[in-house]
Subunit: 414 residues, 2 copies
Amino acid sequence: MISKLKPSENVVIQGWVDSVRAQKAIIFLIIRDRSGKVQVTIKRENTPEIADAVEGLLKDSTVRIEGKVVDAPNVKLGGIEVIPTKLEVTSSALVSPIDDKTGLDLAMDYRWLDLRDKVHYFEFQTRVLKAMRDWFVENEFIEIMTPKLTGNSTEGGAEVFSLKYYNQTAYLTQSPQLFKQMAIAAGFEKVFEIGANYRAEKSYTSRHSTEFFALDVEMGFVKDEHDVMAVEESMLRYIFEKVEMPLASAPFPKISLLESYELLEKERGYIVPKAAKGDLDPEAERLLCEIAKEKWGHDFIFITNFPSSARAFYIQRLDETKPRLTRGFDLLYRGVEITSGGQREHNPERLVNNLAEKGIAEENMKFYIDFFRYGCPPHGGFALGIARLVAKMLDLPSVKDTTFLFRGPDRLSP
Amino acid sequence: MISKLKPSENVVIQGWVDSVRAQKAIIFLIIRDRSGKVQVTIKRENTPEIADAVEGLLKDSTVRIEGKVVDAPNVKLGGIEVIPTKLEVTSSALVSPIDDKTGLDLAMDYRWLDLRDKVHYFEFQTRVLKAMRDWFVENEFIEIMTPKLTGNSTEGGAEVFSLKYYNQTAYLTQSPQLFKQMAIAAGFEKVFEIGANYRAEKSYTSRHSTEFFALDVEMGFVKDEHDVMAVEESMLRYIFEKVEMPLASAPFPKISLLESYELLEKERGYIVPKAAKGDLDPEAERLLCEIAKEKWGHDFIFITNFPSSARAFYIQRLDETKPRLTRGFDLLYRGVEITSGGQREHNPERLVNNLAEKGIAEENMKFYIDFFRYGCPPHGGFALGIARLVAKMLDLPSVKDTTFLFRGPDRLSP
């Protein structure tokens, strides 16, 4: 690694050409790798064949250099320079077709070049994912890898991608929802997964992709949805600590959807439009996060007790006296929803009723209802979109920034 | 957790009914969770409503119990018992449709019941995956999550699943091969991913699934394929240490494919059939592992220098004097191939030649060749099938055992 170079004979360094500055007698080559940069000083007189090889070399070509590292107090890059004895051009770059002024679409066509100054997003994401999984493993969750191909089309609502699968039709799963609940029925007790999810929607926003990676969590033997929120809060606190980001020490604020509607009206004069159908619209999410920051000094806020009309059939109702409210919740962070979660209905008869209410054919969900007929503890869980969380942690405008290769209705390559 | 119960007033335990043994005055209930079992002793006289609730309760129903834990030296399960003051049946089980004598296909229809005595496979897998990722993060690899949906159908050879994607055709990726190499061109230097892979083959073996999860690794600035093998060996040693499984301390044996053919003939009189086309057939893999165990006391063996006819176009040729041999390798473990890897060809002109030789239209791979035109270091990597590795570590016969929900040509549910 370049950042660890110290004066010594016989080093081998490999890296990218950051710049070539040719003078009459000397060529200065700046070489970089992920760790840093170093100056390579080539005297034409001493090593003419090396001088010839690097002259005209374009930025982002790669080289392998043998030589020695010497003290050079005047050199800004660490006070050292490399005197090469051998240099091999391992890859010659053409002129990059993109630069700082390139539009989003062309930048995405050349995503691998666009990514070259964004590698640190993914170094950061690696730390987030590491802390996330560490928390779950330390807390005795089992990691599962559920299928993304399924014979069952519906989980409730959103559109799915379908494909020919031998003599059958397969669908890409919208989430591991049904399978992570299956793990609970199988006695796994506590499970997590970080994997791909598919939504065949025509969404063109800064929050949506047709393929996205999410954390999915499910826990058995919960008392209610508040157990689930407590787990999510603990996990997020652990991540923020590990990536050294400050986070208010007070518990995450938690208000019901009804309270959030009142707050929006009182604090901002905002009335959630009817079209939101008992959910929050993006503007309401943005304003609620502003309010949470002002009132409670918090970037996070839980919204609880969504109505059953705005939640999937598998979310448990609050209780028999309030059948229109559910044990479903959202978690908002810096203006956007990053999580949906809740306690699940684990009673097969009540599930059948919920299906009927939603107008979903019981026949199509029989395989799922069966998970709960041979014993299954009360359980709940949540899902958290990785690209959304990381984009907001890094204060970036879109999931396109934090997705390695974005997939949208018009974007399927590279 | 049941295993941590100690004598005390006021406990709440939740778990599965393992058995109900009703006597005249007393009912003994054995309750289990993932951690262990405990006896609940119900005196009809003291708590008749609890006795009524549990009588007739079937195995694998779930309960929530409030009560106290008392010393009971005669009780085999930890010398304690629970005296309940309140009991709630949270889920009533029907009789399980499967048992020890159930055939494989019915067991897979009821996989969540079949899994109930196999949860430890996935606890073990969780430890393997944790150690695996820890090793990569500690060694400064960046985690990537590459798309499983792509607009480009071919990576060379095997059959792919395709689907309608808005106005285009999308394909499910056979591996992250092309994208992990893109990360190298983007300057990520060292990357890993554990994700889903798709093969639309009609394979009915103990080693194949249409959907499987694999570790994919790619490293820039390698000297040659031996750097890649060294990384894989170090990583595997770390995993074996973390899961406390013994592993021979000598380096993994490493022989060329040609040497392996000679060894097979000499040691077993086995001649690899022509149909294997310069690769190893399953019988050769099995015998080579037997021989490696006998000769070198090792469960692992690297086979190197596969011919270009048996390797994808992107594997680098050994050198110009031996253009028919490649820098591709396999790793065998306990009788099966668990890894393919190698150094990649990063020179765009040589890649174009390789494509022509394989009869792949350059047009279809243009997006990929472009990755190497704007600078890309020498690099190599490997892929390792998780279910294969874990099955062999646990000495289980098939990837069907270690896959949470197996997908094959005839299996798409639950």
